[in-house]
């Protein structure tokens, strides 16, 4: 692939002191896709997770969708009596809604998971945690993926 042919004039305009070249941003859609919601319900066995107790950390503006760092942390004492059993991450617009599903317990000590994911396009992400008392908590984030410039020919 290569840069658009309008680019040359763009660059030359730039060289003449004109403003920014067009910035291609794909904005996330407003409504969540149904595949995402279904995948979450499959994970929770039909329960609607309540927002809170979960933090989902991801850069709001991603410079390359191939490798996006993401961290999920859940507030929990992580004891035998009260801990996080599972943490799952879902996305809206990749070909499949699942990203990662982790199983942990009191021996993890801390309910925190970091990985790197692919984002085909701008979209919403949802992290859901299953607590040892059977409740589900969640957090979501919107991510904007900018288009890569000079990629493989």
């Amino acid at each position: 692939m290569s840069w658009p042919s309008s680019l040359r004039s763009g660059i030359e305009r730039r060289a003449l002191g004109a403003g920014l070249l067009a910035v291609a941003l794909l904005r996330p859609a407003r409504a969540e896709r149904s595949g995402l919601h279904e995948a979450i319900l499959a994970f929770t066995g039909g329960a609607e997770p309540a927002e809170g107790q979960v933090t989902l950390e991801i850069p709001p503006l991603v410079e390359n969708g191939n490798t996006v760092p993401v961290t999920i942390a859940v507030e929990s004492p992580m004891t035998e009596e009260a801990h996080v059993r599972r943490i799952a991450l879902f996305n809206e617009r990749n070909p499949q809604p699942n990203v990662v599903t982790a199983r942990l317990g009191p021996r993890a000590g801390r309910a925190r998971l970091a990985t790197r994911m692919r984002l085909a396009t701008s979209q919403r992400l949802v992290a859901v945690a299953e607590m040892s008392d059977g409740r589900f908590r969640s957090a979501s984030a919107d991510v904007i993926v900018t288009l890569a410039a000079c990629v493989e020919g």
Binding site: P95, N98, A102, L104, A108, R110, L113, T115, R118
Partner: protein
């Protein structure tokens, strides 16, 4: 054999929560991408990761094609007793690799 990077302390105090970071060399071919000939390249991903601590599972993860190439995973474990941590990645086309590290708990 795929190269791996596993980072954890060699020693820890009993009850301390330690962070473990792992990286493994793997293409994580999604199964959705057309190759140079236009034909979709078959899926080839790591589907599962486990961490056993003295043979007991303390952390595991199911990975989907949305996980980036050369999968990175970071999680934590309570240093309970000295012993061996075993990390296993398994996936498509019979992929399976295990690496071990010892941890001394004082």
């Amino acid at each position: 054999m795929a190269r791996t990077l596993i980072n954890l302390p060699r020693t820890a105090r009993r009850g301390e929560v330690i962070e473990i970071r792992t990286l493994i060399q793997h293409v994580m071919e999604t199964g959705y991408r057309p190759g140079a000939d236009g034909v979709v390249v078959p899926r080839d991903i790591v589907t599962r990761f486990t961490c056993l601590y003295n043979n007991e599972e303390v952390f595991s993860a199911e990975l989907a094609p949305a996980i980036a190439a050369n999968p990175f995973l970071s999680f934590s474990v309570v240093a309970a007793e000295s012993g061996i941590l075993a990390f296993t990645w398994s996936g498509d086309n019979g992929f399976e690799q295990t690496e071990t590290r010892s941890l001394t708990v004082t």
